[in-house]
């Protein structure tokens, strides 16, 4: 298989011409998602896990829960930390090594969606204020890159959190003692990220790999169950007009609601 990321010019033109007519190479409409498949609880060692297939893009998320100290300015809140790895087996373009700017951006955008929507009530993760809290590690593992890693990762992260169980505990003499049984992690919102690619001045939802390789820029809009916006991220070296941005916001609200309905969130 080729290790290059260049889409041959003839195909570039083909993709762009179809989009100008409102169609895409795989037959989708401009605002259609690829098929979404979600599986939960696949990694028993993790406190929560999920695997999402978005078309051929595959992302796995594992949630691990540990105890730790809270941040000094939020002594009553648990800690949420999101990390992403673009592992080399997922794409000929991923190299082994520490997280690069793409995996850092991916993790931070997914984090923003979960955090700002207050999907998890962090105060419920407090064990002893100022001393001990639950730390929720959300680790995003991209297994196959066929475009739109952000939306797939955000879905997988949410699905994994919905699948997460915390061990029961009691505090004895300042020590956390584990009791038998589990409690579901309290998740109260379901943020969904919707990403657009701009190709020849048209916006397409859920770009696949080749569309991403020819796009001018990308825009991700994350909304919560009430249609409020909780994260926005423009990426890529192109630009958007304000009109395109506001158009994208409306489409994102609709698509997110559709996805929530489909997944029963």
């Amino acid at each position: 298989m080729s290790a290059t990321t260049t889409v041959v010019r003839v195909k570039q033109k083909q993709i762009a011409q179809l989009i100008a007519k409102g169609k895409r190479l795989d037959g989708r409409g401009l605002t259609d998602y690829r098929e979404i498949k979600v599986e939960q609880g696949i990694i028993e060692r993790a406190e929560g896990s999920a695997r999402v297939l978005l078309g051929k893009t595959e992302v796995m998320v594992g949630v691990k829960i540990e105890t730790g100290e809270p941040f000094p300015d939020t002594p009553n809140e648990g800690v949420l930390t999101v990390n992403a790895e673009l592992v080399p087996l997922a794409s000929p373009t991923f190299e082994p090594g520490p997280p690069d700017e793409n995996s850092i951006e991916l993790a931070r955008v997914v984090d923003r969606g979960i955090r700002e929507s207050k999907a998890i009530d962090l105060e419920k993760l407090c064990i002893t204020p100022g001393k001990k809290v639950f730390v929720v590690f959300v680790d995003i593992y991209v297994l196959n890159h066929d475009g739109n890693l952000i939306d797939a990762s955000a879905l997988a992260a949410m699905a994994a959190l919905l699948n997460t169980k915390m061990f029961n505990y009691e505090v004895e003499n300042g020590e956390v003692k584990i009791k038998p049984g589990y409690t579901q992690l309290p998740v109260r919102r379901h943020p969904v990220a919707v990403t657009f690619a701009k190709i020849n001045d048209k916006l397409v939802v859920d770009p696949w790999l080749e569309e991403e390789q020819i796009m001018d820029a990308r825009l991700t809009i994350t909304t919560d169950d009430d249609g409020n916006i909780c994260a926005v991220q423009k990426g890529g070296s192109g630009y958007f007009t304000p009109k395109q941005v506001f158009e994208a916001v409306q489409i994102a609200k609709e698509k997110a609601a559709e996805i929530r309905r489909k997944l029963g969130w």
Binding site: D73, C230, Y239
Partner: protein, 244 residues
């Protein structure tokens, strides 16, 4: 060492630093401040003190990183350890890595990268003192540094933030407003082409509030753009002082 802040906006509708909701912080700009860099600019915006320098275009080594048909734009956003309340480690944080990326993507649309294949242009941003919306101030400075370096550009890029603080949409957030407020929307804008090159948001806003914030930020960008032009004129007018 955190303060407990009661109100960010007082009864008269003024913010903690006396500003009206749609008012920018005081801005001071100087272009061409470093003798070694090919281009440079220094900006103070409220308590933000930010220095931007540009080196290039120059050949890119190792050669395999170069692009055959265009220039590579590289950007490093970095905060000095003494720039914030609690000393920040000099090692690049995840936030600095993300900001370096989005700042580069905010500047790239303005640069004629096709003109100089196989070369690189490095943009270095050092935040000497930080008080909120540093990525916006950085972009404003970096854009001037690029122009000062003689890099051909389509437009200058001006950047400004807006946000929601206690139910009001306000312009140009300072650090406290960003931390305690409910949303932060940084925007970078190319005023002649009327397009947005950086757009992020974190917080919670209805789509109407978001639209209001983006439009307010764009207004801020236009005002800052006028100041950028004045700063460039101030630097180069002395060149043509003695007129024909």
């Amino acid at each position: 060492m955190s303060q407990k802040v009661e109100k960010l906006i007082d009864k008269k509708g003024l913010r903690l630093d006396g500003r009206k909701p749609d008012e920018l912080r005081p801005i001071k700009i100087e272009v061409g401040v470093l003798s070694n860099a090919d281009g440079s600019a220094y900006i103070e915006q409220g308590k933000n003190k930010i220095l931007a320098a540009v080196y290039g275009p120059k050949e890119l080594h190792p050669k395999h990183l170069a692009l055959p048909d265009r220039m590579v734009l590289r950007c490093r956003y970095h905060m000095a350890p003494f720039s914030v309340q609690e000393r920040k480690s000099p090692a690049p944080s995840r936030r600095e890595v993300e900001l370096s990326k989005v700042i580069r993507e905010a500047l790239e649309p303005a640069v004629f990268v096709e003109y100089y294949p196989r070369t690189a242009v490095d943009v270095f941003i050092e935040v000497l003192q930080a008080d909120g919306s540093t990525r916006c101030t950085s972009i404003t400075a970096a854009s001037l540094a690029l122009a000062d370096a003689g890099i051909p550009m389509r437009d200058l890029v001006a950047a400004c933030s807006a946000g929601k603080v206690e139910d009001m949409i306000v312009l140009d957030l300072m650090d406290l407003e960003d931390k305690v407020g409910t949303a932060d929307v940084p925007v970078a804008y190319m005023p002649n082409l009327g397009v947005i090159t950086l757009l992020q948001m974190d917080g919670i806003l209805t789509s109407e509030e978001f639209e209001k914030a983006v439009n307010l930020a764009i207004d801020g960008c236009k005002k800052i753009y006028a100041m950028q032009r004045e700063a460039l004129k101030a630097k180069y007018t002395s060149v043509k002082e003695v007129e024909e």
